[in-house]
Symmetry: C2
Subunit: 312 residues, 2 copies
């Protein structure tokens, strides 16, 4: 299977390295994955040329996320589908804005769309929701979906730091972005929750439908109060039907030691589903960072390749 | 897709009911699953007739597990593959004894083998290990894999019951089998651990390779001692490489409140993987009982059907 990579930032470069490292293990499983095109985000002329002359079988999309327009990822995905290519994407933008349209287009073109990387990197939230819960009705989705916020809350609690001091530490360690507003104001959590909701509950919601409160309103005093009560703050996203109406909310909540979220510390994440026939399912862990994101892309590629199992 | 069900015990009957209940939801997803044959375990003549005259596309195997011979499931699976049928199985026997042979045979016949139901019913241990960790090397497998033992340990601890009293309660509630030896002596855990190990670590081990100690040696005094130390006993199965040698062990271990296993109570289960590129992954929950087992079979069927996506 020939892969074309668009986007050579951190995730794209990590993917190139990972594919090299895993080449022997993949071949041993009968999977022949070759990176035949590497295309810079700016250079869409190269992309058109690739499509026209010598198309690949799958597009690996590592373009930067634009949550307003979904571009440039959105256009790349549509062009790939038109040319009969599968797509796996680390870019959340197009999935956030146009999941159902793109999914339909993939089906009409007989190809697959892999989005496992868009809802928490290595945490297999989408994969588990789609494959491990196939056939069950998912009744609610809940989770700690942003590692940076979780790290900051722990720093404030354990090291008695102010919000700004804890944020600075998270930035120093590369856990929070230079512009941390998406993380700490709850929007990263909201984006992931929204994708999970639209995909797994078959909804068609927008970011404006999510009630979002981040962790910026919490101070040392709040965290000390919680600690004295034996509780810990966690930034939680939740989608659930209440009186047949879907409520989507992101907010900091407190949990005691009997609750599994209490123990999700550092930059770890967790997602929890309730279902009709397969009970409750809690998934936690998943590495963070560009290398884990690359591994998450590779996971989607392998699952698609095994499904189509083309051998050379 | 036409399904043939072999075995009409608890799981088989629950599957028939579930397939009826889910018919509309499945059709809405473009999945047309029809049960065209229901065959009693004793009646292999009916099975041969079904294969010869009017074969189905997939065999749903709900035969009783025989961990010594793997029969009758083993013969049913091989016959199905020869006739180009996919197989999903709730019967652990053939998978325990001959996974690699059957997997190879499925590949050679261009069909799929679904075994998600064999390692904890609704708990997606195999599914997560195969699909959510695709491309990663799994370094260790660990878990609380037997709900009955977990329930008995909690009853002994919380209700100060003796082992026999707690076992009687588990049997009264239908959590433990009438012959509970597989559960409490650790063999059910060992069987699930062995399947996970052979499948996910690509090993070829047998039950004799697992060091097994169940919970029958624990008494009220042991559990009280642990409680006073703030710890809880859990029956844990673990496969890990130590100095390049695979060690497989089932034994009761104690855990404190900081450890996630401490909070896995009642008949809940958990499985935990460590990997090279996707970090650590912990999955807990999953309903128990025949209905959950049926839902687990349906999950495998849907994943296979979506892969082959035959529309009418």
């Amino acid at each position: 299977m020939r892969l074309a990579l668009v986007g050579c930032g951190g995730v794209g470069r990590a993917f190139i390295k990972l594919l090299e490292d895993k080449q022997n293990a993949l071949k041993a499983r009968g999977l022949f994955l070759r990176l035949t095109h590497t295309i810079d985000v700016e250079n869409s002329a190269d992309y058109d040329k690739m499509l026209a002359r010598h198309k690949a079988d799958m597009l690996v999309l590592a373009t930067p996320t634009d949550k307003e327009s979904g571009e440039p990822g959105y256009s790349y995905i549509k062009a790939a589908f038109k040319h009969g290519m599968h797509v796996v994407t680390a870019d959340k933008g197009p999935i956030l804005l146009a999941y159902h349209e793109l999914k339909k287009m993939a089906e009409n073109n007989g190809v697959k769309l892999g989005i496992g990387c868009t809802t928490g990197g290595a945490l297999p939230a989408i994969n588990a929701g789609e494959m491990a819960l196939a056939g069950a009705d998912i009744l609610s989705i809940e989770g700690i979906l942003n590692g940076a916020s979780n790290f900051i809350l722990e720093e404030m609690r354990e090291q008695h730091k102010s919000f700004n001091e804890a944020l600075a530490e998270a930035q120093r360690l590369g856990i929070a972005e230079t512009d941390p507003s998406l993380d700490v104001e709850g929007w990263d959590t909201a984006i992931k929750l929204l994708i999970l909701t639209n995909v797994l509950l078959n909804e068609n919601k927008r970011l404006a439908d999510v009630e979002v409160r981040g962790i910026t309103g919490l101070n040392r005093y709040d965290l000390n109060q919680a600690t004295h009560a034996g509780l810990r703050y966690k930034l939680v996203g939740r989608s659930a039907y209440v009186n047949n109406r879907l409520l989507m909310k992101v907010e900091p909540l407190v949990f005691g030691p009997q609750h599994p979220y209490y123990h999700v510390e550092g930059k770890n994440k967790v997602v929890r589903y309730t279902t009709d026939t397969l009970g409750e399912l809690t998934i936690s862990g998943g590495a963070s960072g560009v290398f884990a994101a690359a591994a998450s892309l590779l996971r989607d590629i392998i699952n698609i390749a095994l499904c189509f199992s083309d051998k050379p």
